[in-house]
Amino acid sequence: MRPVTRAQPLALALTFAFALAACGSDPEPPTEQITVSEPGAAQTAPAAATAPEVAATDPVAAGKAAFAVCTACHSAEPGAAAGIGPNLAGVVGRKAGTLEGFAYSEAMKASAITWNEAELDTYLTLPAARVPGTKMTFAGVSDPAKRAAIIAYLASITG
């Protein structure tokens, strides 16, 4: 694909030759600079109160929000196709590794778990610890309140 018009290699040559000139202009300092502290100086700013991540009032709504991270792999919409992980609509009460059409790991199929709140809580703490060999490469949800909310959300969906 070499033969082209003459203009283009020339343009490229110029790009090379003048890349230096095109790199930037004179130094441009800040138009506004607010110095609060120096690195390593003791913190004077008060630690902001951390907002509770899970609202106490509506665990299902909080669980739905917390489930966002799970949607990278899972859908919880009844009837939706499996993604990287199986559809989770109706997972509470389901026997592990049995949703038709999803290629589970042997470990999950052999786990003999029936998903209830307690099992999900253990599993979601660290999936690979509860079912060694699971395909679910997820570090787990360490916050118990967040786990409870996610489980409440999953329990609210019927497959």
Partner: protein, 749 residues
């Protein structure tokens, strides 16, 4: 991908390494292979030694090779490693000519230093003809381009060029020259003729006297020998490493986590602070006011900067900086461009194409009388294709670390252009380039995004404002929405068939022409009357090369249209193309190979197969996509890929690059779209700028044809261009629905 293993066709690449192919190529070029001067006159080991060979017992032989006391040969590679395997492939080329033992070979990233400009890459882009120049002219061309290259900071990794330029024209010569110098040193010491000394596995041997020694023993003496500028290179039948799947040298560190990327940078003996940044939402606007009252009271915050074109918060930690930045509100100056939406952008293209009409615009590459041939054609076709803006979305977030103090600046960053990055930092700080040190570790993805230095300039400006070391990290949202993009475009095609269904008239008009030269053409197809025209139009978002650059769009335009022409002629798409390839035997062989791989002509119920053929970056690639439309929307089944890169130096690495290009291209084909609203980018992160997922990935089979061992093609980009048109053509084959706009997935929801 355990569950798809049974479906995955096996790669069978070894089958193509026929001896006949090599002998054929050898006859064309004659005896010993002479291609260029990898080493410059005057061996600079004295000056470079302390920079690159400061380790205990290390001896620099020439700019590109050092050997240590343990007989470890380290190739000093001027190109960057962003996952494409260039470091290892270039070391493999040098090591083969050196007769080195692969287990004793290491690779080192060449520093950002004028001695490591990639002269032959500059030649490949600016004047490829000089790479085949007669031997006696080599020193002249080499000297000229070395000077141009230094002026232009030409230390570049892009254009799928590392192996075919620096590998073929520098590293091999460096290895062969070093071998020659080692032999000369041993001959002198042993008092035997150099011609009686043989080399293998990093050892020198003299059979008659029974003497032998590791390379290390003569490394110092070799460095003092005269360096040949045009040493004879091996013919393919003598290759020991090239053409083999020599294990990649960069993989172990990536597996055990010790590999260091730009974002891993630390500053020795210094505390590092972190900057989060927010650029203006609409290109070309400025910050006119900011309210940072809340941010200044937040934990860890050190400084808040209004840089005019961006805001920055510097804090003890990255997350503190980002959280504080998110609370800052700002006002911006009005936009200069009247392009506010994607519709505005496409309207700009349409207006330019309308103004160019049937024969206007800049003639890019034309021959014959396309207008006349179209007027008298038996069958006429017209089609318009569209492609949107794309973001590169490299996995490693955009980042750079700057420490500016006392007339000095150090930058740590992942970049495809280390010397340009150094110059950018010098400009941003007002220092000379000699006062700037650019450290450039591995890249967590480049795709062309890191050919730009905008982020280096930003970090250097932050560093100059603070005076202490700061690591600037962009959020994913910032990377998706700001910076530089692959442009959108519209292409308008006209074609004419004669009564026998042969393509006799061809006209392609479009608005974007960037790189590489000739990407808008398909000269391997024999079409008598052809015109290719550019009607330039304004684009709102700043341009950057994105993997395969113009070929990504033109491949879709051209190969969709060729397919439409085949169907209009009532011919099989493979047969139709083969009939146009009478003068292009290598292209024909690649197309025939992929058709055989894909069992072309057979299709499962509800499935469709589509084909496309593109030559880009010197490599000819044909792909067949099989798609399953039984659910009503496309599901990828298999992609077969046949490629002729001239010669694949590391076939496994080459296949990986084809696979990577295919997956990146399928992401663009199905999902890739950056759209505009109120002059700003609408998408923000991977939830609305989707990547192809594991569960959507097709099985991919790649086969290599080695068609020319002298003029090599690239690997990083050529796998991409054929896949989108092959998918569109497959969807048409099964559904009768012609997709003329990317991306495809949303057109089925």
């Amino acid at each position: 991908m355990d569950n798809t293993d049974t479906l995955k066709p096996q790669r069978s690449r070894a089958a193509k390494w026929t001896r006949r192919g090599f002998i054929g190529a050898g006859v064309l070029t004659g005896g010993a292979l002479l291609i260029g001067v990898g080493v410059r006159p005057g061996n600079p080991v004295g000056r470079l030694g302390p920079i690159v060979a400061g380790g205990e017992g290390e001896q620099l032989i020439n700019s590109w090779l050092k050997i240590d006391a343990d007989n470890i040969a380290t190739a000093i590679v001027p190109h960057c490693e962003m996952g494409q395997g260039a470091h290892s492939a270039l070391a493999q080329m040098l090591a083969d000519e050196l007769d080195a033992d692969w287990s004793l070979v290491r690779v080192m990233q060449a520093p950002a230093d004028g001695n490591y400009i990639v002269t032959d890459t500059a030649r490949l882009f600016v004047a490829p003809g000089t790479l085949g120049a007669p031997d006696w002219l080599e020193p002249t061309w080499n000297g000229l381009f070395t000077n141009i290259g230094r002026l232009a900071d030409a230390m570049i990794t892009g254009g799928s060029s590392s192996v075919r330029s620096t590998g073929q024209h520098t590293m091999r010569i460096a290895g062969a020259a070093a071998r020659h110098m080692l032999v000369a040193a041993a001959a002198e010491s042993w008092g035997v003729p150099a011609g009686e000394i043989t080399t293998a596995n990093s050892m020198l041997r003299h059979a008659a006297s029974g003497k032998s020694a590791p390379y290390a023993q003569f490394a110092a003496a070799a460095a003092g020998q005269a360096m040949p500028q045009t040493p004879p290179l091996k013919q393919p039948r003598a290759y020991r490493l090239m053409g083999t799947d020599a294990p990649r040298l960069d993989i172990p560190a990536k597996v055990d986590g010790s590999a260091s990327f730009g974002i891993d940078a630390t500053v020795p003996d210094q505390q590092l602070s972190y900057a989060a940044v927010r650029r203006v939402p609409v290109p070309g606007t400025r910050v006119t006011a900011m309210d940072a009252e809340q941010a200044r009271a937040m934990p860890g915050v050190l400084q808040i900067l209004n840089m005019g074109d961006f805001l920055a918060v510097v804090a003890d930690g990255y997350w503190q900086a980002q959280q504080a930045l998110d609370t800052i509100t700002a006002e911006y100056s009005p936009a200069e461009s009247t392009i506010r939406s994607s519709a505005d952008q496409y309207a700009r293209f349409t207006a330019a194409l309308d103004a160019a009409g049937d024969s206007g615009g800049d003639e890019a590459a034309s021959h014959g009388d396309a207008v006349g041939a179209f007027a008298s054609a038996a069958t006429k076709l017209e089609a318009e294709y569209r492609t949107p803006y794309l973001a590169h979305a490299p996995l490693e977030p955009m980042n750079a670390t700057a420490w500016v103090r006392e007339g000095k600046c150090d930058i740590w960053t992942s970049t495809q252009v280390p010397l340009m990055a150094r110059t950018a930092a010098a400009r941003a700080t007002g220092l000379s380039t000699d006062d700037v040190t650019l450290h450039h570790p591995l890249l967590g993805g480049g795709f062309g995004r890191r050919l730009e230095t905008d982020y280096v300039t930003m970090a250097a400006r932050i560093g100059a404002a603070t005076g202490y070391p700061v690591k600037m990290i962009w959020s994913r949202e910032e990377d998706t929405q700001k910076g530089v993009f692959r442009p959108a475009d519209i292409s308008r095609f006209k074609g004419g068939l004669d009564p026998d269904g042969r393509l006799v008239a061809y006209d392609n008009a479009f608005t974007q022409r960037h790189d590489p030269p000739g990407a808008f053409d398909c000269p391997f197809y024999d079409i008598p009357d052809k015109s290719i025209r550019v009607a330039e139009a304004e684009i709102l978002l700043p341009f950057a090369s994105l993997r395969s650059v113009d070929h990504g769009q033109q491949g879709f335009f051209i190969e969709s249209f060729i397919d439409e022409a085949a169907h209009a002629a009532g011919k099989d798409p493979v047969e139709f193309r083969l009939a146009l390839l009478g003068r292009s035997p290598r292209h024909k062989a690649v197309l025939e190979k992929v058709a055989a791989m894909a069992d072309w002509g057979t299709t499962a119920e509800g499935h469709g197969k589509g084909v496309a053929l593109v030559e880009s970056f010197g490599t000819i690639v044909a792909e067949v996509v099989e798609v399953d439309m039984t659910s009503g929307s496309p599901r990828l089944v298999t992609v077969w890929c046949a490629a002729d890169p001239g010669f694949a130096v590391n076939p496994d690495g080459f296949c990986s690059q084809m696979e990577g290009g295919i997956v990146y291209g399928l992401t663009a084909a199905l999902y890739g779209e950056i759209s505009l609203r109120d002059g700003a980018v609408e998408q923000s992160n991977f939830h609305d700028y989707k990547m192809l997922r594991m569960d959507e990935c097709p099985a991919i089979a790649v086969e290599i044809i080695n068609g020319d061992h002298v003029t090599l093609g690239g690997a990083g980009e050529p796998g991409l261009p054929p896949v989108a048109p092959a998918l569109a053509n497959a969807i048409f084959a099964v559904s009768g629905r012609r997709l003329r706009e990317m991306p495809f997935a949303k057109q089925f929801s």
